[in-house]
Symmetry: C2
Subunit: 345 residues, 2 copies
Amino acid sequence: MATLREVAALAGVSTSMVSRVLNDAPDTRATDETRQRIRDAAVQLGYRANFAARALKNSRTHVIGVVLPDLANPIYIDLLDAVEEEAARQGYLTLLARAEGLLTNPDAIPRLVHEGRVDGVIVQASDGLSPDALTSLTGGSTPAVFVNSSHPRESGSVLLDDAAGGRVAAEHLWGLGHRDIAFAGGLPGSENSARRLEGFSAALQGLGGSLPEHRISRRGFAVEQGAAAVADLLAAGIPPTAIAVANVNAAFGVLTELRSRGVAVPDDMSVIAIHEAPGAQHTWPPLTTIEMPLGALGAAAVTALRGLIEAGTVSDTVVSSPAPRLHERESTRPPNPHAPARANV
Amino acid sequence: MATLREVAALAGVSTSMVSRVLNDAPDTRATDETRQRIRDAAVQLGYRANFAARALKNSRTHVIGVVLPDLANPIYIDLLDAVEEEAARQGYLTLLARAEGLLTNPDAIPRLVHEGRVDGVIVQASDGLSPDALTSLTGGSTPAVFVNSSHPRESGSVLLDDAAGGRVAAEHLWGLGHRDIAFAGGLPGSENSARRLEGFSAALQGLGGSLPEHRISRRGFAVEQGAAAVADLLAAGIPPTAIAVANVNAAFGVLTELRSRGVAVPDDMSVIAIHEAPGAQHTWPPLTTIEMPLGALGAAAVTALRGLIEAGTVSDTVVSSPAPRLHERESTRPPNPHAPARANV
DNA sequence: CTGAAAGCGCTTACAG
DNA sequence: CTGAAAGCGCTTACAG
């Protein structure tokens, strides 16, 4: 691990010169010959600027922290992947921060910044967190961008176009001929879910249909919560012919619960989910999904965070491009008028 | 962001004292009263030791890098999760490094260390990499622990007890009554797969069975490669009554391909896979898997890396506890003598 | 029991 | 065109 000093010695110049030349500092007027000598010396010694020294001097690490509730959720992984990739493109490294400690210890996120470990953080908050909890997460002064969740005023925010996702789901089901459709949403407090529901319901109305309250369940985005939603939705009366699930993980639970109740998908009931996940192709039947632009979301988050870090600019972005994309698989089909559940009505 | 100096000023002592007290330095004999004054001042100012300054002084960052081929593979995510958790427990933070850049740019991993960004790296290499490629990955002098893959001499290694995984698969299938079993393995160069196959084959022999060469396919661990394995294995003659797949991702492909060929699982054929994955419960039929101790693997990797960093101790570990654990689901069942494929023999 | 001083490896006004 | 010097915020011998 050669130092600047050693490079300078080898090149026969001052450390100042080496620093300037190697960093392409503006208005550095060094002879081409000098530049070359410096470059050669650096290469010869395998010189790498020490990160800590640089960070100390510049008060900037070029590292961003990514705070995720957990790694089990494929949605978060896609986000993490996109963030890491875009960060790398923009010259930043990615530090992984688990939310577990962060939720029990409200000081954890600010500390990352106060210790100078990261220049800022991108946080995907858990769905249930209150606005107050979110505010206390970053302690106000931390450069933070909240992704896909509600957020404090001082922080940036990057959101999916959830309503558009809901709309695509409604249009697909309607186009297939479904007229009695249910919606399995996130928890009552979830703004993501509320927006998806809104887009879904509005689209249905625009098409001449409607989404009555008893066709709505708000159990949450997790697998077991999807199962609970099925219980709600099939509780009494005529079952719907299709269920739109606000999250692909919940949809896994929906599929399993439906099967265990003897409801055949898609013969008796169609199922569509918002968000794509690797597992969706391997369920039985393979799940029709609406892929949301998580890659673009992650990239937008990185860009927003840089704006906050470098210019103090807080921005709120809705990522609407690329548009939500339908993956039509085998869990959706035109409604079957002879489906057992409806046949005996 | 208060500095040591400010804390010292507020407490009315020297910065030396503050540093010593706050770090609980050995043989620091400060009055209890002084200690308290210092602590109070630190709290009052919200003091956090600057990470860069500390790293510069100590030549140690307490950050480890995790190098993963990609984030799409749930196995790697489990590993990442475990590493992050154990690292946190041991006082280390986790920097995520993508292998994409690392494979095209052989200098990338050593650079992380040479720049002083991380103290060492844990790398999960791609399955196909040659030993030479692995060696050049770390350039020899980088503290590195290779996980679940072959590795250069100077680096530590932490391996799963792959043979045990193969054995559990063989025993389960044999116990169910299967006598004609196939094995869908990783690529020919994969040491992981070779060990699983070895354990599998040896167990079968111990039980009085055998695994003839034509019942072995070596197409790889990926989904599509599992599909290719099915093609191999069903190519001609009597099909086996069960397939053990060396990797759960490939097993997804096996399931899909079997279905598309009209082979019913588990009626016509049983399928079992090594490694557990969230998706395995949601396939149809739900996939019987053998969960390998990835959590313990990740933790062992962190511990091995610390040994390398702090004591220069290179260690090779095989993680055999907890033992591979069978998740019996619906893709395995006793062989059906009337299965169509065999009935017409 | 406590402090002054050097130094980790950089960057950047300032001076020439 | 180039260098000497200060300083980023710590830690740790060394001295008293």
